[in-house]
Amino acid sequence: MRAPRHEIGQDLTRRKFVSVAAAGAAGYLLTACGPRRLHEVPPDQLREAIEKMERDYAERFGTAVSVSGTGPAPGVEFAYALDISRCIGCRRCVYACVEENNQSRDPQVHWIRVLSMEKEGGVHLSESDPYYDPELVPEEGKFYVPVQCQQCRNPPCTKVCPVGATWTEPDGIVVIDYDWCIGCRYCMAACPYGARHFNWQEPTIPDGELNTEMHYLGNRPRPAGVVEKCTFCIQRSREDRYPACVEVCPVGARKFGNLLDPESEIRYILENKRVLILKEELNTMPKFFYFYGT
């Protein structure tokens, strides 16, 4: 004999309520305790996450590493200036970056790409060549424009990420949470400067070449299937040091500093030199300025 309809209805409602409540509670617990974006994780959980990273990397690479959690300093907005009358296209910056930032050697990942262009044509990206390979540089009639993440103030990449894995830090560096990125590569399509790079395979770093001074948003080794890019050497710049590319450049073409400090080299350049930015009509407002020092 079937139970009267209204009792079934009541049962259903109660059962439904309990199951929904249980699901909600489980969801809340998982959200509170489970993996979260490093962007919104509270400081103590961040510290735990960083310590776990240090343990994992130490185990994986067989050497002690330190992962810094240094946050942005107030009153700092990083900017970069590159003197294209000086760059000779030697690519020392490219490889200094590779070593400093633990980029994969095979498959090869370069965060900096040096484009050679004809002096007569001026800065003309569609006529540039990144694969120049002469005996000596600079070549006759050519000049060189290195391109890396422009750390835009109006970044198209952070807008498009569907999971919010990339954002701009208060000191102006656009960073990626490598543990949150799902590898959809929408940000790579959105970047007008080709500055974002994907790990198409498991990255490899040769033994003994690991840079053990890391930052959780910067040069810690990335897994396969995520996007990475220049972070203005966040592990160095947040400890007051110049990025590796700035220090290694043999001709002093690279300048770095705090845009908000009126005494900085960057401000001097903006005030006294003719600066240009790439693809400025796209209104990305890069913090990477090219200038002619001569």
Binding site: M1, R2, G27, Y28, L30, T31, G34, R37, E40, P107, R113, L115, L125, S126, E127, S128, P130, V147, P156, K159, V160, C161, P162, V163, G164, A165, W180, C181, I182, G183, C184, R185, Y186, M188, A189, A190, C191, P192, Y193, G194, R196, H197, F198, N199, W200, Q201, E202, P223, A224, G225, V226, V227, L282, N283
Partner: protein, 410 residues
């Protein structure tokens, strides 16, 4: 209890239906199964080695998968070509077959979601998209919008068809209060899914080939001709192999609507070509690469002109009533539409958009065997789902598959 019995009866009955068929049916199922297994093995290789097994690289970071995804979103949206005459104009010939458009939409949405899954670098992290555990960057990210609208559209269509079919299975009419609002909602949703998909391309200032206002209308136009193309072929097959009846007028009307959609598609493409070639800025490089090649780089040129040729042929065959009513030319027109749009909206959208890349480099993308196997595997899953759903839906609509109520005991 009766509810459960009815449900089990439906399932058991459906299983019986799909496990019986003639040799063409089994040949088709076997063919799809082989492709699915091949795709699964290829996907395993991709997951273990990495996306390097595809031809995608930093310079061309989207390829076959996203091209197919874009095309299939269009196919899913095409259900609206049937829904509007059926529900808004209450035109009976199409009213009888609208459900097949909705089934196609569900299969297409499944394929879209699968293509996105096989494309992302970390499929194990897909839950990062789903609140509350994940974080969906809505409303800033168009991909977040796409995730929402595609799933909502898929659910709407799924609920509508299963409700209608389940009720029909029991010999009862469907509940208008459920179906009508959902169906009416599916109309703007159909336009919505394809508009959002178009927006996710045309919002990118970094890619001038995509950064064009007409991309959204163009997507809709090409969707409204390519989706029904498959449907017309399927409906004719159903007519041939089952007792399914469909009036010729319905087929011809759909073909006529496809012709107008194709005209709009060609017109919008023409408008784009004019703007690029006449203004003759550097943004022309991408269209030039597609249609004429750049210097020695001419990999895509044959595809470009094949697509144009097929589209023009399709338009011609479908707009002229005589060729539209002739079954041979109609089917040629449908195939031409399908493949023409497939080329120009799949590879023909993605690759020229990314070539030359942001720094002017030309990388010749041509999908690898592994990529092709995975893509055919996904298509096969979609076709299999569609086939199985049809195998159940057709007998239900014909009244051949009905619930047999148990003798009630009191």
């Amino acid at each position: 209890m009766e509810t459960l019995r009815m449900f089990i009866g439906f399932y058991a009955g459906s299983l019986r239906l799909v496990s019986r068929g003639n040799r063409y049916y089994w040949a088709w199922i076997t063919f799809l199964a082989v492709l699915i297994v091949s795709g699964a093995l290829a996907y395993h290789e991709q997951v273990t080695v990495g996306l390097s097994v595809t031809a995608m690289r930093d310079q061309v970071s989207w390829g076959l998968y996203i091209g197919n995804f874009t095309f299939l979103v269009g196919v899913a949206a095409a259900a609206v070509v049937l829904v509007i005459p059926a529900y808004i104009y209450d035109w009976k010939p199409i009213r009888e077959i609208v459900i097949y458009g909705e089934l196609l939409a569900v299969s297409a949405i499944i394929m879209c979601l699968l293509f996105v899954t096989v494309d992302i670098g970390r499929p194990d992290r897909f839950w990062h998209l789903l609140p509350p555990l994940g974080h969906l960057n809505f409303p800033e990210s168009l991909l977040a919008w796409d995730v929402l609208v595609l799933n909502i559209y898929g659910v709407i269509n799924f609920v509508v068809v299963t409700h209608i079919l389940y009720r029909a299975f029991h010999g009862k009419p469907y509940n208008k209060n459920i179906v009508v609002p959902l169906v009416l909602l599916s109309i703007p949703m159909a336009v919505g899914i394809h508009t959002v998909t178009a927006f996710l391309f045309n919002g990118l200032a970094a890619r001038p080939y995509w950064n064009s206002s007409i991309l959204a209308p163009q997507f809709l136009a090409s969707a409204f001709c390519s989706g029904p193309a498959i449907l017309l072929l399927v409906l004719q097959l159903l007519r041939r192999f089952t007792h399914f009846e469909i009036r010729n007028e319905a087929i011809w009307k759909i073909a006529e609507l496809m012709a107008y959609a194709m005209f709009l598609n060609l017109f919008l493409h023409g408008a784009e070509v004019f703007k690029e070639f006449y203004s003759d800025t550097e943004h022309l490089l991408y269209a030039r690469y597609w249609f004429l090649g750049l210097g020695e780089e001419r990999t895509l040129v044959p595809f470009a002109w094949t697509a144009v040729g097929l589209n023009v042929l399709a338009f011609g065959l479908l707009v002229v009533p005589a060729t539209r009513r002739n079954w041979v030319t109609l089917n040629i027109g449908c195939l031409a539409t399908y493949f023409g749009v497939y080329i120009e909206k799949g590879m023909g959208l993605i690759i020229p958009g990314l070539t030359p890349d942001a720094l002017g480099e030309i990388y010749r993308y041509l999908f690898t065997a592994t990529e092709f196997r995975i893509a055919t595997g996904v298509f096969s899953i979609g076709f299999l789902v569609f086939t199985l759903m049809l195998k159940v839906a057709v007998p239900i609509t014909l009244g051949e598959f009905r619930h047999k109520p148990a003798r009630t005991t009191s």
